[in-house]
Structure formats: C-alpha cells, structure tokens
Symmetry: C2
Subunit: 517 residues, 2 copies
Amino acid sequence: MKNSIGREIPDELLAGGREIFRGNNHRDGYGYTKAGPKVRAAVKPQESKVVPTLRAAIEACGLRSGMTVSFHHHFRDGDYVVNMVMREIEAMGIRDITIAASSVGSAHDPVAAMIESGVVTGLQTSGIRGRMGEVVSHGKLATPAVIRSHGGRVRAIEMGEVHIDVAFIGAPSCDEFGNARGKGGKSDCGVLSYAMVDAKYADRVVVITDTLVPFPNFPPSIESVDVDCVVVVDEIGNAKKIASQAIRISQDPRELKMASDCARVMAALPYFKDGFSFQTGAGGPSLAVNRFIEPVMRERGIKMKWALGGITKPTVELLERGLIECIVDTQDFDTDAVASVHENRNHYEISTSQYANPMNKGAFVNKLDFAILAALEIDTDFNVNVVTGSDGVLRGAPGGHPDASAGAKCTIIVTPLVRGRIPTVCDRVVTVTTPGESVDVLVTDYGIAVNPSRPDIARALDEARIAHTTIEALRDRAYGMVGVPDEIAFGDHVVAIVEARDGTILDVVWQVEAHDA
Amino acid sequence: MKNSIGREIPDELLAGGREIFRGNNHRDGYGYTKAGPKVRAAVKPQESKVVPTLRAAIEACGLRSGMTVSFHHHFRDGDYVVNMVMREIEAMGIRDITIAASSVGSAHDPVAAMIESGVVTGLQTSGIRGRMGEVVSHGKLATPAVIRSHGGRVRAIEMGEVHIDVAFIGAPSCDEFGNARGKGGKSDCGVLSYAMVDAKYADRVVVITDTLVPFPNFPPSIESVDVDCVVVVDEIGNAKKIASQAIRISQDPRELKMASDCARVMAALPYFKDGFSFQTGAGGPSLAVNRFIEPVMRERGIKMKWALGGITKPTVELLERGLIECIVDTQDFDTDAVASVHENRNHYEISTSQYANPMNKGAFVNKLDFAILAALEIDTDFNVNVVTGSDGVLRGAPGGHPDASAGAKCTIIVTPLVRGRIPTVCDRVVTVTTPGESVDVLVTDYGIAVNPSRPDIARALDEARIAHTTIEALRDRAYGMVGVPDEIAFGDHVVAIVEARDGTILDVVWQVEAHDA
C-alpha cells in the first residue's frame, strides 16, 4: 500500500494495526490514553537503593528473555553502558531482548554479534551506525528494526506502543536514592533529556553511575521516585568522547558560503525578527550559520528569544553575548554546552517530550521559527534521507530532524550538492526520514531552491534579491557533475521500519547483501 | 469491621473494594499499574493556548455534570480560583461535580452552598475548614468526603483511584503555551508542588493566571506539554493572604519551653548528627524549634543536610546562615520562603509525589530523620487527630502530617496539654489522622512521653537526663485540669472517610447535628 508520499509499505507490516503515513498533521486532535508503568511500591522508609553489582540489579528487576530494555545516548561515542549491560544480560543466558535506545552507534559494535546470536532480536532506535547498522541491513535481526525521531520515540513510549520492562540509565552522578544528573561526575554529559521518559514509563529503572554523591543530588534529571536500583561502576563512559571540544566552525569556504547564504535566506523572511527562535543541527555548515546571523542580528538590533535542540559552543556563545535570551537543551554536543547548562541560569534542560513529542499537548518544536538542518540526500519532492547511505546501508539517525522540521515555520536544509561521487539532490531518496512537506528551503553550494508549497518564501527571497532556482535544476546540476546514481540492489526483506513522528509508517528499509559475506 | 488501630469501619464502605488499615507498611512492595490521562494530541504547530474566557476553557475541556475537577491550595486563604471556577460551573448549569482539591478552607465558603444545592456532590481533599467543614459535617454532601494526606492524594491520583477530568491550576505566571510557575506574577506563591500531579494525570488541564509572560516561562512547575488551555483573569488571589509576612516565632513562654524541650530531645538522639534531615510544621512551637536547635548545631559543629516540607522564614534563615545545606520545598508559607525558592540555588521545588507519595519508588519522607509536628488531639495509643475539632466538626487538615511522621526516624508531636477547656492528650481522639505507630515522642508543656514502641529513644533520653513520663500520666494530668471530655453526640451517617496514606481506611467521620439548625 502506498502512503501519502508515494512509498510502498508492504501489507504485512500493516497487519498489527499500524497505519501508513498520511501527512504531518493527519493525527492532530487524536485522542488516546497515556500508558503507565507497573510500579512496585516502596512504602517502608529506606536509606539506599544501591545494589552491589549490575547483575544484582538485573536480577532485582526480574529481567528475563523476551523483555525490552532501554538506553539513552547522551554519552554518544563514549558510551560504556549499553555494552556493559548487554554483556551481563548475555552472560546470564537471557535471550530474545529488544533494545529500545534513543540511539545506537559504533560504540556498540559488540552488540552486533548479539544480534547474530539471538540475544538481541528487536531494536527500536533513532540512530543506527557501525556494525549494528551493517548486521541489521544484512537481515540478521529477527524482527524489523523500528527507527523513530526523538519526538516519535517519546510518543511511542507515552502511548504504550513501546513498553520498556527495564530502563538502564547511565548517569554522570547519582545519589543512593536514585536522583540522577547529567553533571557532577567524572564523565559529564550535561543533560539526561532522552532518559527522562524512560524513567517515567519503564516498569523498572536502574541508574548506573560512576560517581555516587550525597543525597539529595539536586536538581535531578531523573527523580528517585522512579528509580528501583542504583549500581556504581568504575566508568560509565569515556569523557573525551562524550563531549568533545573539537566541534569547530567550518573553515571550508564552500561550507561557509552555504552558511552565509542560509543566514541571508533567514534574514529575508518575516520570522527573522526580535524574539525569534532557532534550532540548528551539529554539522559544520549548520553551526556556521550562528556566526553569520550574529552580525545581522546586531545590525537590526534584534535578539533571539530561545534556541532549541542539541547544543554546541556557538549557541552558548550567543547566549553569553546576550544575543539569545535562553537555551532550551535536550543534548550537549561539546564541553562548552555541558559547562553552560544548569550553570547559566538561562540555559535549561528539557525532556524530549517537551522538546518534540508530536502527540502531547504541544512541544517546543511546535513554536519554532527556524530549523537549520542537514541531509544525506534530498529529492525533488523535498523528502530528506538522514538514515541510509547511498549503498542502502543504515548509518544515520533521524534524531530531531523530522520533529524540528515539522514544527518550524521555516525549515532550511543546508547541504553540498554532491559528496564525492554521490549526488545529494536526487530524484528519489533511498529512504525518507523527513517528508518533503516539512522542508521549505534547500541551500546548496550551487544554489538555493524553495519548496513550491511556500510561494511566500519565494516571494520574500525575490524581494531581497536572493537568487533561487528549482530543486529539479539542482538535481540536474548534481547528476551532470557525478552522473545518475545506480539503483541499489535491494533484497525483498524489510529490515527496518521508518516511523513518522505520529507513529504511522513513513518508509521501510530493505535488506542489502553483505559485500564482505 | 475494626481496623488495626481499633476503629470501626462500616462494612458498606468496604463494598467497593476498599480495605481497612492494617498498619503503615502493610502495602510495602505492592504492585500496580500507574494511571494515564486521556490526551488530545496537538500535532499541528500552534502559537497560543490562550482562550478568551474561563467559560470558553470549560467548554473546550468538555466539562459536564458528574465529572471531577481539581484545584491546589498554594494560595491558601487568598485563593480566588476555586470560587471563580465553581461559580462559572454553577452558572453553566453543570451539577454533580466532585471537587478533588489538595485542600479547601474558609476562602471557599461560597462553595458550601453549592454542596447544599447539589452542584457539588463529592469532595476529595486534605484540609476542610470553614463553612464547607460545617455543611459536610452536617451531612449535606451527597457522598462521604474523602480526606487524604498530601502523599495519599498523589498516590490516589497516580493509582487511578481519583480520576481528574479537568484540572484548574491557578498560576502566578504563565506563558501563552501553558508553562506555569509559582513566581513571576503579582500574587506569587513560590511553588506549585500540589498541582504537578494534577497536570500529569488530569485529562484536561486549564491554567488560570493573572500574569501572562513571554514564552518560555522557565523553569516551569507545570509544563506546557500537559496544558490544554490558558485563561487570563484579573486576579487569581489576594497576595497578602497567599504569603503573609506575619508568621513569627512564638513569644509565648509555654510555647518556647516546649520548643526548647523538643530541641533537647532531638539533640539527645543518634539521628542528630552532621547531615541530618528535618521537617517542621508551620505552627508556633514547631517553628520555634528552629531557633533552639541552631545553638546546639553550632556547638556541635554539625549542619543539616536537607529541610523538607512547607517552608517558613526560620528555615530559610538557617539555609542562608549555612546551617542547612538545602531546602526541598512543597509549599511556601511566607514571603521569605517565596522569595528564596528558585532564587537561592539550594532551595528546590519538588512535587508532592517526590515529597510524600507512599507508593512510588521512594519519597523524601522515607529518608527523613526528624519530623516535628502539632496535634489537635493525641490519645494514649499516640494516635493523632488534626482534622476534627472537639465538637466533631471538620476543621483541619492532615496535610503532610501522616506522611512525614510515617517516614521519619523520629516523629515528635509538640502540643500544649490542654487548649482552653479541651484536653489535648486523651483516651481516644475523635478522629485518627496519623496512626500511633508513626509517632515516637510527645512534648507538652507539662512533660514528655515516649511511645513504648521506642525503648531506644527512652534510653537515649534517660542517658541525657531528660525527664519523661507515660502518656497515660499526661492524659491524667490533662483530665485533672479540665475534666474528662463529654462524648460527642454523633449521628449514624458517615460524612467523611479518612484514608491512610496507602489508600486503606484509617477512620471515618460521623455526622454531627447542626447547632444553628
């Protein structure tokens, strides 16, 4: 059955009540009852929830084969928690586990073997990279992986579509009662926004920390009222990889040109006024936009009211210079962001439900003016792919891309026209992760295109004498430079479902043959 | 059927699955599934949830006869919200409403007439005073009122025993999207701890404010993700009555003597050591304890780690003087407490679930060292009554009393032996609101008694040469001074159920005849 963006969704995937995507706002006003966890009451006064080992915690939580466990990815490539927990689960002879993570990456390569051995048979995630991406793409996972945006993940948990039996929450600091924070430890990650929903909706919650601090560890991101056990380990992650200082604004003239053009587009639109709001991705060109909007803001005497999303140094600097009134933070990408959150009184942590859940009573993205985002591919319908490579293998993450772009009044994709021999602008993206209706403008190093659904933006660019062309012209230019890409030889087996924010099916990912097999 | 403290609970009250009280920790380890609200998704980007009138909000929420509405009591005697909403409900012809409030008082006298007219047919509350207490005591409410502790209220909501159809949350400041705070307005109440659970568990949530502020109103006590509508009115309350500056430490020598004795008892116990925790009520003698423990703390070179509960100036002063490391706040009783919370970085707002819910995974009260509380009556089983007067009429509030006393390692009741012609210490309290097993020491102006269940405390007092006697001796002394009280002439109709923290029935309140009838 074809969904509203023309993607063929195999009927067997719709058997369980799943629906096909019918447009961003199809489920506006939809009514449902929120899920609730199964809780074991701690009526009796108690001093401590610390258990001696990870195994003791797993046993105390009654984890058994067939259950679902969850993780967050605030530690990024420095994460030790997923492997630590999964190795213990494997050693205990537990199998058939579904991992419901906010994201998994190359730090979790050891889990790929557990997919092959049947310890892990289900995967629900935003990002998927490295060995796990390969084994899933090669059809080794027993069930299709489910790929969601950050807002879509919270939605699925709050609606009960993902039921977490045991949440394992790595926390830089925690007290004996389970109040956990993203700071105060030896491997600070700043915020714990992704894990907040897990703590509230999982039946059992285990906090894993390497820094036990005195009670009460306040203000907590994870509240002790939701925590069953605390485990103290040597190291929860590699602090250098959790928050690297290395994210710098690009010096690449092509990237700077795109960032400058993006800032010019922003400045030409009515949303660019005092009190506007803004979210950028963490990629080089997106980050550089911060640099280019600063002089325009100063020139016009305007300030940004709030900046949203994954936070990096350039945004923190704009806050410190008084050009942003506050930062609303769901993930810290560098040490500057980690240092700022909770210390600067105008830099706030929020949950991913507050950030982007499309089916609560209104998330931050719903009020966003600008979203500046990247793409692996964008097609002539403005559909974006950020999850599969040009070979069809899973190696990306929707993250907050579908959320911010759906909410923002103006979403600008900033991306080079080609990468190596691969055209970025194409006829049909391998996988749709963000539907074209969410995308308003494409800025490339070879020109700008406006989505025909936004004639108002096209007019504004015309008035500002900013040249723009059609996306078809950009595609032709890309194809002219590197040729028309070959069709990927997919198998006939669905290895992953890409859910739209609202839980409908946006696209599917098909099996690809292992070249090294 | 008699419960474990010997109170007769009529069988008809047990028909609906209710159970009798069987001791504080009877339900430890009890498993249940948390409730979830019915949510209407706001997928589509939207700018504002402000509706023009209160009536428009009530209509938008689909409120109709037979439903349950909720309120909080952070505005105390200065509250305008309950009357404002109930008058509109009455004017709309809606009837048979259950009010689920964290407390109601004499500010809500106009609602008493709505009980008599059948607009209000159910009442769930902690406190009940003034005209409402009278009409309920006189049997005018169609169903028995349910009286709960603050922790018990959160428990009942989180377990789904109280289902709130529409929560009306008065907030000193709110943005157009529903982020609401206890500060930033013209009638600040400091925290909104009682309302947090309403926002998370009510199907529909209306924030009523007199101070609309720019988005985002951060950090919010009530998150916009849970809010359906925002209503702006002229005044939500009388700021002078919300937080009076007038709470002063007693100058009454008898009260000071009791406070001094209470501090001596505390100082004689092993819990009085560096890092201890502490909660006091807002009454004169309890407050004065702050003054008397300060010199002992300085002398011994110890500090308090955390102070909990309803907060007043003496506690804020100890924080500012460095004798308390942090305050964990659920209600602000004076302007000093309102000024301190969120401003002093060690003065935190918590929800009442974090504070005292007996059936989450561990509340703050579970780790409390000392609770210093008052009583209207205390009997020779150490059972305390804080809800009915000596005439049997409802005019009090369990509040956090049953919660703090159940959790604390040492609970001290500080109360004069007699009040006017009424003995405070007696054979049998009119109504049990806190069971005797929660109470460890009684300090009166005529002597100290230790609960026989705590021989360890008696020994510690002996070692410190602090005289103490039996509670029977104190009762005899009281009766010797003012005589044995007459039996109250109760009717045979139950007007209120006093729930224990865990949802079992601790006691019932019987109808009394209206003397003015």
